[in-house]
């Protein structure tokens, strides 16, 4: 059962109650997913990027807690109107955490996952368009690694769970 006290900020609560940029985007030209439902922490980002690499709009869907919803929502606000380069370099998980007025430390990973998902989307878009800009590092960044780690963890847990799942069927 959930035990660690979670004194969420007003901003987190506001974004939880009235999330900005929520929902699937029909005319998105890149979609990226990060996290895993087995972890109870998963985000889908939809972005529409203009031919000159500006993020025209971004929306999200989230399977997760209030911090997951709030950080995903704020990230869509933060990257709107930015160039891909600026979104890549300037939107860090620490800034995301600041933007929501701070998060309990056990929830830092929500902001990290949201930024990881954005980076994944940008990388995917560049690959699909055959672009390799100077600012895009070949090696995966901290946030991308964290997203991967969480997904790997989900796989490990799921394996351990297979025996248990057989019981159910």
């Amino acid at each position: 059962m959930s035990r660690v006290p979670l004194p969420y900020t007003q901003k987190v609560l506001d974004l939880f109650r009235n999330p900005k940029n929520l929902g699937k985007m029909e005319d998105a030209n890149v979609v990226a997913v990060a996290g895993n439902p087995a972890c109870g922490d998963m985000i889908t980002f939809y972005m529409k990027i203009t031919p000159d690499d500006v993020i025209e709009k971004a929306t999200f869907e989230s399977y997760g807690c209030a911090a997951n919803i709030a950080t995903a929502s704020i990230v869509t606000e933060m990257i709107k109107g930015l160039t891909l380069q600026s979104a890549w370099n300037d939107v860090t998980w620490k800034k995301v955490t600041e933007e929501v007025g701070g998060l309990p430390s056990v929830k830092f990973h929500c902001g990290i996952l949201a930024v990881g998902a954005v980076k994944r989307a940008i990388r995917k878009y560049c690959e699909e368009k055959g672009k390799s800009p100077d600012w895009l590092p070949k090696e995966t960044t901290f946030e991308e690694k964290q997203a991967l780690e969480e997904e790997e963890l989900a796989k490990t847990l799921s394996k351990r769970l297979k025996v248990a799942e057989e019981k159910q069927s």
Binding site: G35, E61, S62, C65, A164
Partner: protein, 407 residues
């Protein structure tokens, strides 16, 4: 951080109806219980029961009378078999730690069920420091312990077995009497402990009938004050104390007895056992109304644990698929409905409730679980209100999820 909480509380202003269903994690204390306790803070029996003056003797008298009453409710034969402790946690620590240390010559193996509460599970595992091993017996999809596995596991080395009578999360009633018979048949020297915290006042319990060696009960689980529990230890079972300090009336728990809390615990027991059948039927009918209503109003819901006679009358544990539990608890709180979830969200480990995993729930199902427990103080109107609010809350959270994470 406290400022944040003040803001969160302000977001709850204007709530017109409140329904507290998180009776797993703490409860209200009824006025009658508080009233029974109050005189013991300033009017009488405020002394230390071991000392030679009137307030001390008064305290001694009321503690002994309380001990007698609770011993009677449990079916204990003699007064000394009951030790008051500060809570269920301390009672389980004393029972498990104190018994295995006192009887370590009999063996170093501890056997528990896979779905024991944290304060049994972690104490058993902690004993690895002293060379003990812990084996966990699996449960089936209803949460019932595998008695065959228990039989295969208990051996000459087994010093202690602990199986709670009613599971705190999914309410499954375990066949404790049968488990005791199996264990004693395999090894008569093995000590059998049961946590009765979720059974006491909900199903009939009698330590003589169950033939257990030790049993834990807790005040806050029965609408009594927090900070008091008790451990029954059958006469002749050797348990050593696990804390050092001044010993008073409680030979296995040092420190000054908390007379008002003992009185409150006793009063809460009395209230539950006066009209026991009526009280239990009330919990059950409210719980059934709640569960039936949820299944009528919503699709993609799963009931966790078993229905019918093998479930505690107060417990409802439901998984709402495509919704995350922590988000649901907050959404419901803003509408005045207070519940808890088996979701892993507050932990970086991202692992949900071990009980739900043990009964074969997928992680995504466990993350969407909500635990609700009814009490005799709730009304039909309370449940109507929950059924009015809950579907909208689930649907709003599902709206945020969209297709994310849907297989």
């Amino acid at each position: 951080m406290v400022e944040n909480v003040k803001e969160l509380l302000r977001a709850h202003e204007g709530i017109t109806h409140e329904v507290y269903l998180d009776n797993e994690n703490s409860t209200i204390v009824p006025r009658e219980v508080v009233d029974a306790m109050l005189p013991y803070y300033g009017q009488k029996a405020y002394g230390n029961p071991t000392l030679t003056h009137k307030p001390g003797w008064e305290a001694f008298e009321v503690i002994m009378e309380s001990q007698k009453k609770i011993a009677d409710y449990l079916g204990a034969k003699i007064l000394e078999e009951l030790t008051f402790t500060p809570s269920e946690t301390e009672a389980n620590n004393l029972g498990i730690m104190g018994a295995v240390l006192a009887n370590k010559a009999r063996g170093k193996k501890i056997v528990i069920s896979e779905i024991e509460p944290i304060n049994v599970l972690q104490v058993a595992e902690f004993m690895a420091k002293y060379g003990f091993t812990t084996t966990k017996i699996p449960v089936n999809s209803e949460g019932t312990i595998d008695l065959e596995k228990l039989k295969d596991t208990v051996d000459r080395e087994t010093v202690l077995v602990s199986v709670s009578n009613v599971n705190n999360e999914i309410g499954t009633i375990q066949p404790v009497k049968e488990a005791v018979a199996i264990v004693k048949d395999m090894n008569p020297l093995t000590i059998f402990h049961t946590d009765l915290s979720d059974a006491y006042t909900r199903i009939p319990v009698d330590v003589q009938e169950l033939k257990v060696d030790m049993a834990t009960i807790s005040s806050y689980k029965i609408l009594g004050p927090r900070g008091i529990g008790a451990l029954y230890i059958r006469e002749g079972v050797n348990v050593e104390k696990i804390l050092e300090g001044q010993i008073g009336t409680q030979k296995l728990w040092p420190g000054v007895e908390n007379t008002p809390l003992i009185v409150g615990f006793t009063k809460a027991s009395e209230l539950a056992f006066t009209n026991f059948v009526k009280n239990v039927n009330r919990m059950r009918s409210l719980r059934d109304k709640l569960v039936d209503g949820v299944f009528e109003e919503l699709t993609d819901v799963k009931f966790n644990g078993t229905r019918g006679e093998k479930r505690s009358p107060d417990n409802a544990n439901i998984s709402f698929l495509r919704a995350e539990g922590e988000a649901l608890t907050i959404e419901l709180s803003l509408k005045g409905i207070y519940v808890s979830s088996g979701s892993a969200c507050s932990r970086r480990l991202l692992q949900p409730s071990h009980v739900l995993v043990a009964i074969g729930r997928r992680f995504s199902e466990a993350h969407g679980s909500i635990l609700m427990k009814t009490t005799r103080y709730m009304t039909e109107e309370d449940i109507d209100y929950v059924l009015e609010v809950l579907p909208n809350a689930v649907n709003r959270i599902r709206g945020i999820v969209g297709n994310t994470g849907v297989d």
